[in-house]
Amino acid sequence: MGAIFSDPAQWLPLTFAALMGLSILIYVVLDGFDLGVGVLFPFAEDAEKDRMVASIGPFWDANETWLVLAIGILLVAFPAAHGAILTALYLPVAIMLIGLILRGVSFEFRAKAPAAQKRAWNNAFFIGSMMTSLSQGFMLGLYIMGLQWTVWTVGFATLTAVFLTVAYSFIGATWLVLKTEGALQLKAVEWSKGGIWGLVLGLGAVSLASPLVSPRIFDKWFSFPEIVLLAPLPLMFCLLIGLLFVGLKRLPTADDSFAWLPFAATIVLFILAFFGLAYSFYPYVVPEQLTIYEAASAPESLLIILVGTVFVLPAILGYTVLSYVIFRGKARALSYD
């Protein structure tokens, strides 16, 4: 360990890979739930849609910013990988961007445009959320497949596109269980019960495919003693799924206790899945082609950013928490007054 920290060309790329990972993880959890709420839109009544948007209105913008940070770190810290990854993902990125545009403006337009156009903006919100989740899932799948475009990899990526969308809608549903009450909460519980199967299938597919595609990943998981050390990961995974099953059956409770449980458990699930992926791909940033050490920028530039990050990141986390505290409790109708 000591040897790593004496050489900036070793520990700086590692640090930035960790920061990028953290940023992606926070993004997937936070924007995951608000994208998921968008994906669930068609299943709700009009009045419920307002409530659903109210539950994410104060947060979505800041949630999305974690994506900008993640992509920022990628381009700042690993410029060589940045170009390789983003040009390979040219089309899905474009689709995601248009999706983000559509849903981002819909938040404002659906509330401010003439009432007759509200339905159209509701649709735009749903379509934008779908485009974003599907394209992110597609990119994840293609990344796992080593950024190659073949019939087989595109097929797999299409599958992950569907599964990530299900995963987002699941965490979105559990968020709604936490943030709503009455009939909508009851609906959200039902949505969660449906989504859980998609989650199990999706995580299972990715867990099976990654080692099958890459012998290197296979070895990282299935050799001794790794297999024993890693065993808690799938075990915890099964435990959490079980907890979710039992929890969702009993929700909503009369005094609304434990409404937080599914959302919290889902966050832990996302974290576990994320660590599994990160472990599989380390030290590569472009799978099987470019390691974080090869792709890293000049140490002096990384240091400049790191100094700022040490001060700024805690502040960002601090006021992010502040905003969730201010808007805690059940979602109220959004009003500027």
Binding site: A47, D50, R51, A54, G57, F59, D61, A62, E64, T65, L67, V68, L69, I71, L75, V76, P79, A80, H82, G83, A84, L86, T87, L89, Y90, L91, V93, L97, I98, L100, I101, G104, V105, F107, E108, F109, A111, K112, A113, T180, E181, G182, A183, L184, S297, E300, S301, I304, I305, G308, T309, I316, Y319, S323, I326, A333, L334, S335, Y336, D337
Partner: protein, 464 residues
């Protein structure tokens, strides 16, 4: 068309769309803070009335800016990977600081600013308003640091074709930053001034006689009248700075081909011809070019012909585009000067907005988005004026473009254009709709649906 030109059009389209909204939010954030502070100081409800209306304009513009800004950050990688590969060591930290010091600040406190009024104490709401305004300005600062560095790079060294930072203070406070930053902030101020005046005039013409409209109109006209002379002065300084560091750009702006010519006339109108390398037709004022640019009657300035290498390679920007966009910007600025000063005169004579003649009110409605025209024209002048360089003297645009099939760039370009055109249409029509609705005196609440559960609670609570 090849990938390079399509990628340039795509990036140009994206940034043109994007820049429209920060141009509004940067200054509007401070205007909102002004409204809020005036309300707190005077207790006069008209300021809060103005705040409530304009915060919606802010929220809408902000959302448009955010979503189009995300597009920009991805396009560096999808379309211009050479940019980060060559100058990423410098551009990277600047962009990272923008995200860390500005984006999160804006995004988090925007939620509190928009929806927190009833949840947080007034001071915290005012603080949130301040932090959002501060965040948008910080964001502009970092972006303009990077952009200015691309125009006037210093504080770096090149090793194996890659730029490495040698002095961060020199990079950040590069020679064109002070002029570019103040020019851009003033442009934002003017854009908002005319938007305030334009929408307020629209409401007034619709019969809205509320105090909030008067307050916003007065703020807009005063802001415009105060800022425009400052802008002309700063713009002139910016031009002189450009002459020092990017003479080819100034030569293109002036339609000036022959660097040996003395004295240099001021070309008011011309048809620059890139084939014959001269102006086909021109109306010019003798001596004035020398006088303005060199402060002497016979001073010379470099001409476009000085930027052609012996092999015939052209190292100056496309002349007609720069020449014309510069004139559009100046003409819009002049119209702003005339309008805002005339309006000040009328408003001082009469009683505020009542003193304005009707044609003038229509004039303000027509000029509601004049700031956009000036900003875009100025942006084209400076950015096209940098060609063929991406980073002046360091990296050519052609050397940064991604190796993606032209068809893919064209396809996404068309998709973006369709989305952008639709959104601009929606944006302007919703602003107009909001103004018309406010003019009718309809409530400003945006969601009128009751809290879910509230209805049930009411139903089971026994009547008192």
């Amino acid at each position: 068309m090849d990938t390079l030109i399509l990628s340039r059009i795509q990036f140009g389209a994206n940034i043109s769309f994007h820049i429209l909204f920060p141009t509004i939010t940067i200054a509007l954030g401070w205007v909102l803070l002004f409204f809020k502070l005036r309300f707190q100081a005077t207790g006069d409800g008209k300021w809060m009335e103005a705040y409530r209306f304009w915060v919606k304009v802010f929220a809408l513009s902000f959302a448009m800016g955010v979503v189009s800004g995300i597009t920009m950050s991805f396009q560096f990688g999808t379309n211009w990977p050479g940019f980060m590969e060559h100058v990423g060591n410098i551009a990277g930290p600047l962009l990272a600081y923008e995200v860390m010091t500005a984006f999160f600040l804006e995004a988090v406190f925007l939620g509190i600013m928009l929806f927190g009024v009833s949840r947080v104490p007034p001071w915290l709401h005012t603080l949130a308003t301040f932090l959002v305004a501060f965040g948008t300005t910080m964001s502009a600062f970092w972006i303009l640091v990077l952009n200015s560095w691309m125009h006037t790079p210093q504080g770096y060294e090149i090793r194996d074709g890659v730029a490495y930072a040698t002095n961060w203070l020199e990079i950040i406070f590069n020679p064109s930053l002070p002029y570019r930053f103040s020019h851009t902030l003033l442009a934002s101020g003017l854009t908002v001034a005319f938007l305030l005046a334009g929408l307020s005039a629209f409401r007034w013409l619709r019969g809205d006689r509320s105090d909030g409209v008067r307050a916003a109109m007065r703020t807009g006209v005063t802001l415009g009248a105060l800022l425009i002379p400052v802008q002309i002065f700063v713009g002139d300084m910016h031009g002189l700075n450009t002459l020092e560091h990017q003479p080819a750009k100034v030569a293109a702006m002036e339609g000036h081909w022959d660097g040996d010519k003395s004295p240099v006339p001021l070309v008011l109108f011309a048809l620059p011809n890139a084939e014959t390398r001269e102006n086909d037709f021109e109306i010019a004022i003798p001596y004035l070019g020398s006088l303005i640019l060199t402060h002497s009657l016979d001073g010379k300035i470099p001409g476009l012909n000085d930027f052609v290498t012996e092999d015939g390679e052209v190292l100056h920007p496309p002349v007609a585009k720069v020449f014309w966009s510069f004139r559009v910007m100046v003409a819009t600025g002049m119209a702003m000067l005339v309008m805002s000063w005339a309006a000040m005169w009328f408003m001082r004579r009469g009683r505020g907005i009542e003193g304005l003649p009707k044609p003038m009110l229509y004039g303000f409605v027509a000029m509601g988005f004049s700031g956009w025209i000036a900003t875009l024209a100025g942006w084209y002048t400076t950015e096209i004026g940098r060609q063929p360089w991406l980073v002046d003297g360091v990296l050519r645009t052609a050397d940064a473009v991604a190796d993606v099939p032209a068809g893919m760039v064209l396809g996404t370009l068309l998709a973006y254009l369709a989305v952008y055109a639709a959104l601009i249409f929606c944006y302007i029509s919703v602003l107009t709709y909001l103004a018309a609705k406010a003019a009718k005196g309809e409530p400003t609440r945006i969601f009128d649906t009751p809290r879910s559960g509230e209805a049930e609670v009411r139903a089971i609570t026994p009547a008192e």
